[in-house]
């Protein structure tokens, strides 16, 4: 890591800390129904929406009704996304004339976008029509993010309130998250992106005459479009010349803005934010990088305000920030290390640039990799598959920690609060007292729910990987040796934690991968949301205890250290053996 890399790293951290604080205070106003400024303009829209949907927004729900509303909203969302993909061939706004998406990929994508994962088993520009990108995918980018924020608001109310069964109104939380937080920020970011060169048009593509026509080997196809093989089983090719460049574009900026802000990550193009049209300049790289972590980080401060003690928000924020800073440093360091195989091939000793873009460089790519996996964003500006073994391992571990180092919008904070419950429980065991968090007694029910939330994602990640290694299609993996195992482990760590990034050499469009992955994404989203809401309901019903001499303060450095230790120990104990088989083995072989 050189001085310039270090400057970029520190600059980004400082910007994140500075920007998340005011936004957090603003978001707290949104959930506490206090005037936030925008309500003067958007208040009528909000009330109109409630009226059109027949919702009494003042009627609060208990945890079961809240959970059922979440499930109803998301179930219909999955069905709608599936239907639009299957029917896109017959629908308008399809300038490239793309056919309906195949059922396996459509199922996988529907679950993926509704669960805020945005794992992509397809290449955007060659699979999805503009209508699908807008009506199906962009909508879920908003709704899935707002769902996470709503569930988080419900959990915070459970901690802040006492002796009630009510957690708020899901429809109200969903609407206010969208109207007052996600939509205005997306508009600002989208305009900035267009200014920097991200296309925003309903045209399908532009055709350019290449300055210099290019010669290539064209695969020979038979009548039905399948490649013709020669006697040795290799595809036949014939020399051909390409004189034109068809440049795919579309309504890109509007989708990229919300995909970053809502920790969605599903790109318009196959290579996501590495594509010059999604991320054309260092400035867009900075804005998108900030957008990835901005809302998840700000929510910590909103939490502090809502429980009436800002120090509680800072404690959670510090635990997340210290973990992120550490992992980001390690990732940048790993990517700055030259690959000995390339040095031997006659290349200058420098950071590896295979799978990276010149305008971002190795440090800008590594910092992004850490941010996108720390948040459950999953968009990429470089190909993680081509990262150094350790440069790929740190982002993988960030996902495996359960997406709580900032994590997804809403989901990261509710995940981290569950870890906080476990941390006070562990502390309580050490001194032999009944644990408390924010004046609420932590009893067996809360501990059981917390255990579910913490154990389900690792179970899905490891079992999915094992299943893929034993029963998955053998040609899915594109790299030999331990790296092939890393590709599978990364994929299920990503889907099992609702991240969505990939070691993209993996072929994930086969029935096995689309179905197993779809199930993993579904379970890791809703089997976590329901226990979290159950815990919120139980906490809301409890009395608030006054802090006594035996109470562990949850706003000081000791608690921050304890919380970080719990997150790291749970993650490390679960995943060290699997990581040893993949990236660690590859690292030792490469740098022997």
């Amino acid at each position: 890591m050189n001085a310039n890399d270090l400057t970029q790293y520190l600059f980004y951290l400082a910007l994140l800390v500075a920007a998340s604080w005011p936004l957090g205070l603003y978001i707290a106003r949104v959930y506490q129904d206090r005037p936030c400024g925008l309500d003067r303009i958007l208040g009528p829209v909000e009330r109109l929406l409630y009226r059109l949907c027949g919702i009494d927004a003042s009627k609060e729900m208990d945890w079961k009704a809240y959970a059922l509303a979440v499930v109803a909203c998301n179930a219909l969302g999955i069905l709608a996304v599936y239907a639009v993909q299957r029917l896109q061939g017959a629908l308008p706004l399809n300038p490239a004339g793309l056919p309906g998406v195949d059922p396996y990929v459509a199922f996988n994508t529907a679950v993926s976008f509704a669960t805020n994962t945005n794992w992509q088993a397809y290449g955007g520009e060659t699979t999805m029509s503009h209508l699908t990108q807008m009506l199906a995918l962009t909508v879920q980018n908003f709704v899935s993010a707002a769902t996470g924020m709503a569930v988080m608001a419900a959990l915070i109310r459970g901690l802040a309130r006492r002796e009630t069964s009510l957690l708020g109104n899901f429809w109200r939380d969903l609407t206010r998250s969208t109207l007052y937080v996600l939509l205005p920020l997306s508009v600002i970011l989208a305009v900035a992106l267009v200014w920097q060169g991200v296309p925003q048009t309903l045209a399908g593509s532009a055709t350019a005459r290449l300055v210099e026509p290019t010669a290539y080997e064209k695969p020979v196809l038979d009548g039905s479009g399948n490649p013709v093989l020669d006697a040795a089983g290799k595809p036949l090719t014939e020399p051909a010349t390409q004189a034109e460049q068809v440049i795919a574009m579309g309504p890109v900026a509007s989708q990229v803005a919300i995909k970053q802000l809502g920790t969605n990550g599903g790109g318009f193009f196959n290579v996501n934010s590495a594509h010059p049209f999604e991320n054309p300049t260092p400035l867009t790289n900075l804005l998108e990088l900030l957008a990835i972590l901005l809302i998840p980080a700000a929510l910590c401060h909103a939490f502090g305000v809502m429980v009436g003690d800002r120090r509680q928000g800072w404690a959670v924020f510090m635990a997340m920030t210290i973990l992120f800073a550490g992992f980001a440093f390690l990732t940048i360091q790993a990517e700055a290390t030259p690959n000995p195989l390339l040095e031997k091939a006659g290349v200058a000793s420098a950071a590896n640039m295979e799978g990276k873009e010149v305008r971002f460089g190795a440090a800008g790519s590594a910092l992004w990799a850490a941010a996108t996996t720390a948040a459950s964003n999953g968009s990429v500006n470089a190909m993680h598959d081509s990262f150094t073994p350790l440069g790929g391992m740190w982002p993988m571990l960030l996902m495996q920690l359960g997406e709580v180092v900032y994590g997804g919008v809403g989901s990261g904070l509710y995940g981290m609060l569950v870890f906080a419950v476990v941390a006070v429980f562990v502390a309580g065991l050490m001194v032999g007292r009944t644990p408390e968090y924010l004046g609420k007694k932590i009893e067996p029910f809360e501990t059981k729910m917390a255990a579910l939330v913490i154990l389900i994602p690792p179970f899905l990640s490891l079992m999915g990987t094992a299943l893929a290694a034993v029963a998955g299609p053998p040609d899915a993996v594109s790299n030999p040796g331990p790296h092939g195992f890393s590709q599978m482990l990364y994929a299920f760590s990503s889907m099992g934690n609702n991240n969505g990034s990939a070691f993209a050499g993996l072929t994930a469009s086969s029935p096995f991968w689309t179905i197993a992955g779809g199930v993993a994404m579904f379970v890791s989203r809703y089997w976590l949301i329901v226990p979290v809401l159950a815990m919120a309901g139980s906490l809301a019903g409890k009395k608030r205890l006054q802090a006594g001499p035996g109470t562990l303060p949850t706003h000081g450095p000791i608690f921050v250290a304890l919380l970080m230790a719990v997150v790291l120990v749970v993650g490390a104990l679960t995943f060290v053996p699997a990581l040893a088989l993949g990236p660690v083995a590859e690292h030792l072989a490469l740098f022997k």
């Binding site: 400057t7 499930v71 060659t126 309903l202 290349v347 200058a348 590896n352 490469l590």
Partner: protein, 192 residues
């Protein structure tokens, strides 16, 4: 519990419908209108239009093979390089033997001796990277000047004119836009 679920289905369906209109239709269309009004060139893909029609996009690289042009980075798109309708990286892992093999072939094809600049011999993430590093351009300068019978100083001045530095002096990396540089070379050649 089932009754509560059924109760929530109606608001769920209506909410999804209106959210679709708001975030799936109104929002992208409003952004399209705003983009066309404020930044029409960028919103349309930053196309470079010359006398002969659209020559390309300033943000999307093109394949170059002859000595008279600066070459961009290797591209892993299929079936031909720089296919701007199907972006793709190579996704070769760091220990995959195919990676040093491909890189060694590209190093051998380079003009001049000494270690090769990293970006010139490794495939970009998108397969459409419009840039090379200043070192990558410098390595090709002599070849281009010879092929065009131009003084190296003239070519170097054009390279410098198409080199962008870091944002704020530290954010991102310095880079040379290959397509714009090559078009400028052609234009300079015509003037002489």
């Amino acid at each position: 519990m089932f009754a509560t679920f059924m109760q929530q289905l109606r608001p769920a369906a209506l909410m999804l419908f209106w959210m679709t209109l708001l975030t799936g239709l109104a929002y992208p269309l409003a952004m399209t209108g705003l983009g066309a009004a404020l930044f029409p060139a960028q919103a349309g893909g930053s196309l470079i239009v010359t006398g002969g029609g659209v020559a390309g996009s300033a943000l999307i690289g093109q394949p170059f093979a002859s000595d008279a042009y600066f070459h961009g980075r290797p591209s892993a798109t299929a079936p031909y390089e720089y296919n701007a309708g199907a972006s793709s990286g190579s996704n070769l892992g760091p220990s995959n033997p195919a990676l040093p093999e491909a890189v060694a072939g590209r190093v051998a094809a380079l003009d001049g001796g000494g270690p090769a600049p990293m970006d010139l011999v490794t495939a970009s993430a998108s397969g459409l990277d419009p840039h090379v590093s200043p070192e990558g351009a410098a390595r090709q300068l002599g070849r281009v000047a010879r092929a065009r019978n131009m003084p190296p100083e003239t070519v170097a001045a054009l390279v410098a004119a198409h080199t962008e530095g870091r944002l704020f002096g530290f954010w991102g990396e310095p880079r040379v836009n290959v397509l714009e540089l090559n078009l400028a070379l052609d234009a300079a050649g015509k003037k002489e």
